[in-house]
Symmetry: C2
Subunit: 347 residues, 2 copies
């Protein structure tokens, strides 16, 4: 029932080739001819079949977005930012959510984006060298976010510096007993966010001759529930830190809840600083390290667009972070007779 290019051609009394050229704004179409075609197309409510166009033109005009999870704050925000540059540029953006056991492996094994997208933006997907090679071998232009490799253009944030700044903030307030809660390291894989942040944390401590305490550095999932679990483990360790650096705002929120449940006041008994500057941080007064998600998505999409037309150049950009001090950090408690040195909660 829907009109095809043949219907439009007949109605406008031209060939389908001319319709195709006229509708796409190509040069070498007489103004009056173009007007006639436009009128016909309008009258027939014509839209080109994208699949036919794509097959004929050899381009899909869609970009794949590979993320670990669709529902999480960071991925939703970056999706939004990417969509807002790619859609106006005429591209569809198709999500590939690598959620659930084996999803990452299956994706890397089957490469389901082949023949389906013109380019790919890959966010926070840990990959081994051989896997990066497999991706590169498909020769679809790729930009990675949160992941820096030799093979693809990348956008990352200054994770090490950010975590160092967070830690220094606590130190400058007088804290000497500082914990870290964060994500798991994906060992053989090129995904260095947790490692980089841990590195920055340790840098800051060592610069003040403080030794990182293994029992105060706990790795879990980067979610509120993970933050809660991490804080539980941290507070049941021997002794207890007076300040905690969390690798995400969501972790910080989960962690604070556990601390409060155990009767600790924030920041009086325990200071905490997050990472992200999730919009909620402002409303709950969370001190945090801000990263600009919008810029990450915007830049990644823009670079991919460039790679899609011209020669793909390899560039890397590391975006700065910034400390935002709010109300979850303050001086450490003055140790009383039951000071934190010995009064660690045990469960």
């Amino acid at each position: 029932v829907a009109a095809t290019i043949v219907d439009v051609a007949r109605q406008a009394n031209v060939s389908v080739a001319t319709v195709s050229r006229a509708l796409r704004g190509l040069p070498n179409v007489a103004p009056q001819t173009r007007a006639r075609v436009l009128a016909a197309a309008n009258e027939l409510h014509y839209v080109a079949d994208p699949h036919a166009s794509r097959l004929a033109a050899g381009r899909t005009f869609t970009v794949g977005l590979v993320v670990p999870k669709l529902g999480q704050w960071y991925y939703a925000r970056i999706f939004e930012a990417i969509d807002s540059v790619l859609v106006p540029a005429g591209y569809d953006v198709l999500p590939f959510a690598l959620t659930g056991a084996g999803a990452r492996e299956r994706f890397l094994d089957r490469l389901p984006f082949r023949k389906r997208v013109d380019g790919l933006i890959v966010v926070d997907v840990p990959m081994a060298d051989s896997e990066l090679e497999r991706l590169a071998a498909t020769s679809v232009p790729i930009v990675t976010v949160g992941l820096r490799t030799e093979r693809f253009s990348s956008l990352t944030v200054a994770n090490r510096e950010g975590a160092r700044t967070a830690t220094e903030h606590l130190i400058s307030l007088g804290h000497e007993r500082i914990g870290l809660i964060g994500g798991e390291d994906f060992e053989p894989f090129a995904f260095t966010i947790p490692g980089d942040r841990r590195g920055g944390f340790e840098d800051a401590l060592r610069a003040r001759a403080l030794e990182p305490v293994a029992a105060w550095m706990v790795s879990t999932q980067v979610t509120m529930a993970g933050g809660a679990e991490a804080m539980q483990r941290l507070l049941s360790a021997d002794g207890r830190p007076t300040g905690v650096v969390a690798m995400s705002d969501e972790m910080a929120i989960g962690a604070m809840q556990v601390a409060r449940d155990l009767g600790l006041a924030i920041p009086a008994d325990l200071s905490i600083v997050g990472f992200d500057d999730h919009e909620i941080a402002e409303y709950i007064g969370l001190t945090t390290i801000r990263q600009d998600v919008g810029t990450q998505g915007h830049e990644a999409a823009t670079w991919l667009l460039e790679a899609l037309v011209g020669e793909p150049e390899l560039h890397h950009r590391v975006l700065p972070t910034r400390l935002v001090v709010r109300r979850t950090t303050g001086p450490p408690p003055t140790p009383g007779p039951n000071g934190p040195g010995r009064a660690g909660h045990t469960n």
Copy 2:
């Protein structure tokens, strides 16, 4: 460079028709032939070109998801739920984000999903009758979420009952001065969530012979910033409520921040109940009305899948909500000499 069906056919010594049948698991292929085809396809790393398949088969195997915004919690979660049923069923899900001025109108005008999707899930998009008609005229199967009309199958939650329950909860704690902060009504359009929730709020008050106070019912955007703005306006009104119902958890969070900034303790001076049960609610102790986003997405996707194969039946489901009492609600303050009746903050 990538292998086509012709390459596979040559390698397996069969026709392309047989390759097509064998690879798609169609009947009437000899087991050995199928094995030979599979082997050839494997060896050549063959994947079918989806655009060619779609053009030839006349089906796109993609479902469009229309949302007001990609980055917001509710839409991200429902996207995730929908993706998790559609992708395993062999469908791509393509987002249409109606963000920004005129995006809704442009979408409804151009109907950019035509020839591009087999079905559509439309979430929280206000539409006039004529617009619904336009959508229906495309004859693509549609399921709506958060929006109930005569034309399409729909999933909604019991908004009126939920808001009534929230309000009754405050009343049962002793509150008599209760405010409401929520979304804007989209007047000529079929989008009744704000209106329904407001209705439930008023129902509860009237059932106890309490009159809704216009100055305590403020409409803004359904975001944290909107909640903050609403609370500001509400607290600068004459008098002041002791309890507030918010139409989303995010609004509640923004609102609480403003209240605390003005020196109000929650719930001692002001009780607040949200709507959603955002995962953060648990961690900040927010009393709220839980809605099950996962089920909404899951059901919507399942219904659409059914409509895509068999006869599209029209069904409507209204999912229940549930009060989850946490720590932001309590009895109203006992009015002292400066009781809330007269001591309303003015700015």
